[in-house]
Amino acid sequence: MDIVKAARDEKHISGHEIRQRLFPDFFELHGDRLSGDDPAIVSGLATFHGQTVTVITTSRGHSLNERIQKHFGQPEPTGYRKACRLVKNAAKFHRPVILFVDTAGAYPGKSAEENGQGQAIAQNLLQIGQAKTPIITIMYGEGGSGGALALACGDEVWMMKNSIYSVLSPEGFASILWKDAKKAVQAADVMKLTPQDLLKFKVIEGIIDEPEDHQQVCDEIDDVLQKELKKLQSLSDTELLARRYERYRKF
């Protein structure tokens, strides 16, 4: 459960900070061009070591008001559709996509449900999964369920040392299996949601160290991104998609 606490710790780096430190010229692009602009996803264009990249981050917000608007970082269908639109546009220009994910999951609200939360996630898996451009996801807190997978279905997924990625939150898991959300500690133990477990299952490519200083954290991320992008950008579209197919087919 320690790792769960660490992943949810307020002190860990935020999406806002990652954007500021790693992508100082970040230019936000709003909206899904269908029905709205979900503030739980902040996305746009930026320069990364001389090349343009598309950056998509989940966002929990700071003030209480912001947090309520962003549903504490849980995207609505329009958020997933915004991400999908941006990835497809990035593919048009063969521009790499970097996603930063920290979400308990997709927002379980009535309007989210009626506006097709399931359909939005499904279409992300389908369309991001086929986008012909390198796509890397970095989990930097909680990676909860299909709502996280919808932003982590590209070529590589990396996790920060203090993060988790699981089929459901430990609370939800305990409540489904044992009808008792209070058994979350027990759930976290059997769920195998630590970066080390996930590396063993090959669900992720690697773990990024997380020193206390946030600039150092960003330097670590920067190193990984540079190295991995170079590798992925040397592949042809056909090779990239074949590699991606195999990445998920093995599970």
Partner: protein, 283 residues
């Protein structure tokens, strides 16, 4: 406006005292109550389709039972594939044994080569009697193979979904099946082949958020529960009670996510008609 009508009805079920001794006089399983409209039916009056005569709701039935009235011919694929236990999850093996006995299957989906009125297609039927049709690693494996084989043989795919979502006992590897099957669906689609989904009760969670929502045509059975998040979770999140039919297929259709609601009795002829329009074999 008369205020009287704005009051909540005070005569709730809670206030009606159940007559337990009356219940005792009726043998178990003699009467089935429709979970949607409450209509009571003598169990022995349910025909092979197992639908409610009042509202057409289709009761949850096993894949094998469904295949009996749906198909003219069927050759099963990968029937030997059985759940893995990647997390060595406590008591999971007992649950699997029980599910196998209940469904007559080794996994939560039955797949194979099917024929309806002379038309061949690749078919998957998820089984709600097998751990509520949950999506495990090997469920995903059978589904991926279904789409891969259909792509290779240039066949359309029909998939009946029924699922409580990801299979918790298999953790993150269960989640990965959503992406794995989706990629196989994409290949099938890129080959120009037709994929028809039939949503049955219940289709929820990770299945709703992946291959159930990736069909060219998406049909649903009357009043089938179709949703992503669980009703209880939504109610706790928004602190509001949801309408009983919020996740009924009819409401999902109204919001634009389902093509057509089809009664079980009409499924065979509807599929036969739709299958004419997909797959090279059917050109």
């Amino acid at each position: 406006m008369v205020k009287l009508f704005q009051h909540k009805n005070t005569l709730t079920e809670k206030h009606v005292k159940a007559n337990k001794s009356a219940d005792d006089r009726v043998p178990d399983g003699l009467i089935k109550k429709c979970p949607k409209c409450g209509h009571e039916i003598f169990a022995n009056q349910l025909d092979q389709y197992a639908t409610c005569p009042e509202c057409d709701y289709g009761f949850r039935i096993s894949a094998k039972k469904r295949s009996k009235w749906l198909l003219d011919d069927f050759e099963e694929w990968d029937s030997e594939i059985s759940p893995s236990d990647p997390l060595h999850f406590p008591n999971y093996d007992q649950k699997i044994a029980k599910a196998k006995k209940a469904s007559g299957l080794n996994e939560a989906v039955m797949t194979g080569l099917a024929t309806i009125q002379g038309q061949q297609f690749a078919l998957g039927i998820m089984d709600p009697t097998f751990i509520m049709g949950s999506l495990g690693q090997m469920t995903g494996e059978k589904l991926s193979r279904l789409f891969e084989k259909a792509t290779e043989k240039k066949l359309p795919v029909v998939l009946f979904t029924a699922s409580g979502g990801a299979r918790m006992q298999e953790g993150i590897l269960s989640l990965m099946q959503m992406a794995k099957v989706t990629n196989a669906v994409a290949k099938h689609s890129q080959a120009g082949l037709l994929y028809i989904v039939v949503l049955t009760d219940p289709t929820t969670g990770g299945v709703t958020a992946s291959f159930a929502n990736e069909g060219d045509i998406i049909l649903a059975e009357p009043h089938a529960m179709v949703g992503f998040a669980g009703r209880r979770v939504i109610e706790q999140t928004i602190h509001e009670k949801l309408a009983a039919d919020m996740q009924d297929a009819e409401n999902v259709l109204k919001h634009g996510f389902i093509d057509h609601i089809v009664k079980r009795q009409d499924e065979k002829k509807t599929l036969a008609w739709l299958l004419q329009f997909g797959g090279e074999n059917n050109d």
